[in-house]
Symmetry: C2
Subunit: 487 residues, 2 copies
Amino acid sequence: MILITIDTKSRHPLFEQIVDQIRSLIESGGLKEGEVLPSTRKLAENVGVNRATVYRAYEELWAAGYIEAVAGGYSRVRKRIDPVKQQAEIVVDRFGWEGHLSDAFMSISQTRLFSSAQLDGLIDFRSLSPDSDLLPVEDFRRSMNAVIQTEGASVLQYGDPAGYLPLRELLARQMKQHGIHTSADEIVLTNGMQNGIELVCRLLTNPGDCVFVESPTYASALTMMNYLGLKVQGISMTSASMNLDELEASLRKQKPKLIYSMPTFHNPTGISTSQSHRERLLRICERYGVPLVEDGFEEEMKYFGKAVLPVKSMDRKQQLIYLGTFSKILFPGLRIGWIVAPVTLAEKLRRMKEVTDLSGSPLTQAAVFRFCDQGFYELHKKRIHRAYRKRMQLALAACREFLPQQQVQFTRPEGGYLIWLTTCFPLEREAELNQKLIGTGVAVSPGSRFFAADPEKAHFRLSIAHRKEDEIVEGIKRIAEVIQNFN
Amino acid sequence: MILITIDTKSRHPLFEQIVDQIRSLIESGGLKEGEVLPSTRKLAENVGVNRATVYRAYEELWAAGYIEAVAGGYSRVRKRIDPVKQQAEIVVDRFGWEGHLSDAFMSISQTRLFSSAQLDGLIDFRSLSPDSDLLPVEDFRRSMNAVIQTEGASVLQYGDPAGYLPLRELLARQMKQHGIHTSADEIVLTNGMQNGIELVCRLLTNPGDCVFVESPTYASALTMMNYLGLKVQGISMTSASMNLDELEASLRKQKPKLIYSMPTFHNPTGISTSQSHRERLLRICERYGVPLVEDGFEEEMKYFGKAVLPVKSMDRKQQLIYLGTFSKILFPGLRIGWIVAPVTLAEKLRRMKEVTDLSGSPLTQAAVFRFCDQGFYELHKKRIHRAYRKRMQLALAACREFLPQQQVQFTRPEGGYLIWLTTCFPLEREAELNQKLIGTGVAVSPGSRFFAADPEKAHFRLSIAHRKEDEIVEGIKRIAEVIQNFN
């Protein structure tokens, strides 16, 4: 019998409180290696919380290496991989730092980290960074080399906080291909998408403010918004888009500081919305006077040729902010994203960029400019379009062929890397199902982390970004088998 | 007669309110090109504020290009350099974004930006980035080239949020040279110093919390702290250090969340504190249980050979966080700094880094590692030590020879790039004196921006980082002349 007490008034989510306490028990020796934890049902009853909450806590503990699954659906305490460091962490805090931590840190202290190492021997459908084998390393090396030779120290000094001007000009031209008429003055380069989301949120919100997001949505955007102390309200996704009736109903109740949306190749579902949906979304934002933040993180991955233009392309009232990134098509490790915003905001974002960073790296920005300017980017885009067109076709064919229709539905993306599985099983069984998938050698992203509030069903996100053709088919076969035999 | 109204209860500093209103008048045509503004004395009387406040406002307006000095110490409205963009900014805000801005942005909206273009033909003592002519561009190009060739896509994908491990290991070894015994586990790479200050402040403070800094201090740290909503209390600098009696008296009144200090080559004064001062500072922090954040931004610039070790080297209770950067010795444009923190904090900082950035750029981090690992860094360090040893000796000799002792005192740094001038003139005359310096072809950093609260006297910071020998001597001669003839 383990003793856990829950504070329902705490800022800390319930499942995190459970995680914290069980972890403390393990670390202090109150729970020993090999001890079996109570079933989720039993612990939920004892503590007085929903069973899903306990599941989520167990999933976190599993991910952190504190527990493992045993026969009969139970979990038992396991030996940590890295006890020395863990021990050091406990012993070494001579000062008592725990009493000094900010609310901002506490709000993310239990968030699952995404950079978990790839597990050997698994078909890993989690990573959303492009396949290394498709990256134009040699062309980029030459671009980098040439930039240092020709521009020298000038790109190695502090740069313009808004970013390297020729790259902003080039991005303005690239944006025109997507119907967005903009100029370098309206563009601010960021350290990838995440930095763009932070800057925009910090420009337009104070802690405690409300923002609307799709539910599910990009998990790291949720984490960022928690970090900034925002109240995040999820607007549910239909099979085709954000539910705009629900959005309007919510707007009548409260006006958020912004609406964050991914109309194209939505993360995690892969859904792209229709032109008429985009028009209606824009009209709603205009009517309620709410800024719309459009995340076009995979805008350039329209390899099936269907190209609905971004909402930003229709933004006559200039109340949209568009976020882009190179990370899903070129090199994530360059950390280059961008914001397109009305000039009055772009100047303010530039100032915030300077206050927080002084500037991005002119060197990497100049190297990417040169790479694009010399035509390598367009060549590269065509090449990865060919590769992923084929991979996505294969993946969708495998989903149609193998996935049991009764137990699981999948989305049919028109580009990008993501397929979203909605199972017939309740959320409470997501962690269990996930462990079975791992057991059969497949890693996917459990769906619960993408929701602002818990959904009913267990979901999984598949990213094909990092997988080859044969792995894709084999992986989906295994997923199908696990789901088929799950009950 | 211009009409300005002041809200003394506003979060907006008084001088910024004056700046805003005069700028609006100019932009709306209420004040026309060539019109002479009231004297600072007169406007101060009319508005009911201190004369220094009006001076500061006029200085801001001058820096932004809205006014210019005319004979008799008056200022008049001038034509803006970039009216089109300025106009666009006003006309184009169709949405009314001004009503949507956050407190965080408002707190920095009027802060002077530092990246102002170098003014042609001036001897510019403002920039704190190393002389481009001394930067080892070609060696770095080869390191970058080799890294892309040997590591390929692996350094072009997302990296560890804590930073590229070999570079962290190398920094741990480098820290040992300064008496800091640490390991890669305790190091988190940042996007330069500024990002390090932000992460540490956000880990340890909530908006509204109090922090102590030296007064004067690094201006962009002040800006960052304002941005984070912190209450900043300045502890005055003596000619040798932070005034520790004043620190203790302040600590008895209120306990800040952290103390931010630059014991070595303090910015802006160039002062390095003694060993006994460091010991006493540490003992005070220990006694009051307050975290100390030590900014060692120029630690590696000890070219006169005198090397007091960082306070962090004595940190047995592990209540110090040390901040370092490559920006003052290698390439600022790589944006690489680092935090050394007790491992329990380092893990938390790593998590925050991931939430805000996902990771830094493994590519630039790996290139710097290779550059250092192959011995180029040590060679480069010796080379710039030689150059700046000579430049600083020349600068100090010129100060001794030319500066009028009655009117101005200067610090005698034991390394780094900075010399600090304390004039006999009151703060109110700083802007005027600064304009005279510009008039004689010398740009320096006016001192007022480095203070948390207004000082009595007019100060100026000279950085020799970007200047050659002959310019240094000539620049200091001109400064001496202007000060001599100022009254």
